[in-house]
């Protein structure tokens, strides 16, 4: 009986040691992965800020104005002016839909037609 307890204890110690060893290495692996991910996040953040700066630089008003001037033939853009505000009254009503011709119309005015109309 005593031998069995000794054996079981020794085995469990070995098992625990093996488990601790594995967990240790797993943790180290995960930490490495985390470090790599953090590095990647940092470099992506850096890239993002560079892109944002570049976007702002490419969209700077001076450059856009120059581009508009250069491409005037195609774009025909001019600064917004007060005359460009329209009013609702300037918008035409849609034309009423044409009604289908339901009865033949007598294009030559005859007396019968006049009488029929009356």
């Amino acid at each position: 009986m005593r031998n069995f307890i000794y054996l079981a204890t020794a085995l469990s110690v070995m098992g625990l040691a093996f488990w601790a060893y594995r967990v240790n290495y797993e943790t180290q692996d995960l930490q490495g992965e985390l470090r790599a991910l953090n590095r990647e996040i940092a470099s992506l953040h850096e890239g993002l800020s560079v892109l944002r700066a570049e976007w702002a630089y490419l969209n700077r008003p001076d450059r856009l104005r120059e581009l508009v001037d250069l491409n005037f033939e195609r774009l025909q853009l001019l600064p917004l002016s007060p005359e460009q505000f329209g009013s609702v009254a300037q918008v035409a009503y849609p034309l009423p839909p044409e009604e289908p011709v339901s009865e033949p119309i007598d294009v030559i005015a005859s007396t019968q037609a006049l009488e029929a109309a009356e």
């Binding site: 700077r60 001076d62 005359e83 009503y93």
Partner: protein
């Protein structure tokens, strides 16, 4: 252990045989035994003390070693932070009111050398000069071959330059990462942003410190990591700012002015939508400040905030508004305007003779100095001073720029009646265009004080009441008349009902007296007058319009047309619809639907 008996029989018998006292032996043995016991106890105590000493030594050594280790190791970030906190830039961005970037950081590199590690200093110096032509070869060679262990070569280099330096292949040339401040829009809003430079520098990083404008005023805020990377949002609108700078630049050249400034302000909140000062500079490459001469000649000088000028007739409306507030006059009251007005040894003249008397409205419309001086005489200097103080003319503006306190108005020490009269028409008290803008905004805001601000969300609620809403309304009506039938007739932008007041002030000589041919022309305007939303103050420094037979310098001919163009361009951008609207309904038939 064998105990020695106290009276060993052999020695007792022996002593007895010799006739000695056997008790002496016993005493001797008792003494020896006592000594042995004492020694043993002492040994044990000493052992314990030693043990304790060793334990304490170990404990203190552990603490000491740990402290030493902590003090000597490089600080390390916790590797397993749960949030994966975002890597923040060293300095927060600055954006305009719509979130467009005005200032940001860019990662770049600094180049330095460690001369002891250089393989071929002369060749490296040659190659470096090829890449950076502005470097001095002699100096580089001297630094590389001398006793120095560390030499900065360039503070900021581009990736292409970095690659070229890599290609030299000398192990003594090294790079340090840097964050540099970038202003992507160049010179736009340069006076507001200010600029930044490197502060304390190390190999692996360098501090960025603001040197002027909001960058300096908010230096601590921008560097505070607690903000979690939130940008500093200004009230400036990039589109408006750029449009105004473009028109102002054109207007300044057309009117042969040496400087110009314009401020566009929202009436209700005091938020500054655009503030331009020309000539300007590129904050990415900030020029050095002037060491001698007039500070206002430097492009760094912010005329809108730092430039304190006598603003001329634009001040007249304050005298009139105060007189109306005090119930001394109403818009129809007749005021004597016979020119010149002689007061002691002073003479106050008008530009033209406007007849013996005019209504208060006409005093403003025709811009009569004499009429205004008469009105100020009714008010008196004490009350005038108190009124101008409430309008904010005796203090620097509260705008969030580091330059704001330098724009302190020049106020006369004493305030006799003649000074009050000249201040009434804008001479004798110097203030910045921003002061004028906030004072006009106060009138446009129905008499509630407006404080200018550049920070979005920093605007305070309505300020104290300076004049009644009725007086403010009447003042606006007078300013509207200035535009429809007075000195600012060029300022009548169709559809936007501009109200305003011109001001042409002779420039003061630094030696005393005034220049004959140098003026500051100002147009302060409010639009649209039916529901005042925006205030525009535009000032030209030494303009002269030379199209006619003789140069014209009055604001009506110089500042007003430029301001009108600004309003024409800016009002649609602000989303203001012209109020009359196009009258012709081109190509549209009105049909009646049965």
């Amino acid at each position: 252990m064998i105990r020695t008996p106290l009276r060993p029989l052999a020695r007792i018998l022996d002593a007895r045989a010799k006739g000695e006292n056997p008790d002496a032996i016993e005493r001797e043995n008792i003494r020896l035994r006592g000594e042995a016991t004492r020694d043993k106890a002492r040994m044990r105590a000493e052992g314990r003390l030693l043990m304790m000493g060793v334990m304490f030594l170990c404990a203190f050594m552990t603490v000491g070693v740990r402290m030493g280790v902590l003090a000597n190791t490089e600080p390390q970030e916790p590797q397993l932070s749960e949030s994966g906190a975002p890597i923040l830039a060293q300095r927060a961005d600055i954006t305009d009111r719509a979130g467009r970037l005005l200032a940001t950081n860019l990662v770049t590199h600094a180049l330095y050398a460690q001369p002891p590690m250089l393989v071929d200093p002369e060749r490296s110096a040659d190659k470096l000069v090829e890449i950076f032509p502005d470097l001095d070869r002699e100096r580089l060679v001297r630094d590389f071959t001398g006793a120095r262990k560390f030499v900065w070569i360039k503070k900021k280099i581009s990736p292409e330059q970095m690659q070229a330096v890599h290609d030299i292949g000398d192990p003594g040339l090294l790079f340090g990462p840097r964050e540099m401040r970038l202003y992507p829009n160049g010179a736009i809003a340069s006076h507001i942003l200010g600029g930044a430079r490197f502060g304390a520098e190390g190999v692996s990083s360098a501090e960025i410190v603001g040197v002027a404008g909001v960058e300096k005023a908010f230096d601590v805020w921008l560097r505070n990591p607690e903000n979690n990377g939130a940008p500093l949002q200004l009230t400036i609108d990039l589109t408006l700012q750029s449009a105004i700078e473009e028109i102002l630049d054109g207007g300044m050249k057309l009117m042969n002015a040496k400087g110009a400034t314009a401020i566009l302000m929202e009436v209700k909140t005091g938020e500054v939508l655009a503030m331009a000062s020309l000539p300007d500079f590129d904050p990415n490459d900030r020029p050095a400040p002037l060491t001698k001469g007039d500070a206002s000649d430097s492009p760094l000088f912010n005329r809108a905030v730092q430039g304190v000028y006598e603003l001329g007739s634009t001040f007249k409306i304050f005298a009139v508004a105060q007189a109306m507030e005090l119930g001394l006059v109403n818009p129809e009251t007749k005021v004597p305007t016979k020119t010149p007005l002689v007061y002691g040894r002073h003479r106050i003249r008008d530009f033209h003779n406007y007849g013996p008397e005019n209504s208060v409205t006409d005093v403003i419309v025709k811009s009569s100095n004499v009429g205004t001086a008469r009105i100020v005489q009714m008010i008196g200097g004490e009350r005038q001073r108190e009124f101008l103080e409430r309008m904010g003319f005796l203090e620097p503006t509260a705008v969030e720029l580091v330059e704001a306190p330098t724009g302190r108005p020049i106020v006369p020490q004493k305030w006799p009646e003649i000074t009050a009269m000249t201040i009434g028409y804008g001479h004798g008290l110097s203030a910045s265009p921003l002061h004028l803008a906030s004072a006009y905004a106060t009138i446009a805001n129905g008499g509630l004080r407006v404080t200018p601000t550049l920070i979005r969300g920093a605007a305070k609620g309505p300020g104290e009441r300076v004049m009644s809403a009725d007086v403010a309304q009447k003042s606006l009506a007078m300013m509207r008349a200035v535009v429809t039938r007075g000195t600012a007739s060029f300022g009548d932008v169709k559809g936007y009902q501009v109200a305003g007041k011109t001001g042409t002030a002779d420039k003061a000589k630094p030696t005393g007296g005034y220049y004959k041919d140098k003026v500051i022309a100002t147009f302060a305007s409010v639009f649209p007058v039916t529901d005042p939303k925006y205030v525009l103050v535009l000032t030209l420094d030494e303009p002269s319009e030379n199209a006619g037979s003789e140069p014209r310098r009055t604001a009506g001919w110089t500042a007003v047309p430029v301001a009108a163009e600004v309003i024409r361009r800016v009002a649609p951008l602000l989303g203001l619809r012209p109020q009359e609207g196009p009258t012709e309904l081109a190509g549209i038939q009105l049909v009646k639907k049965d």
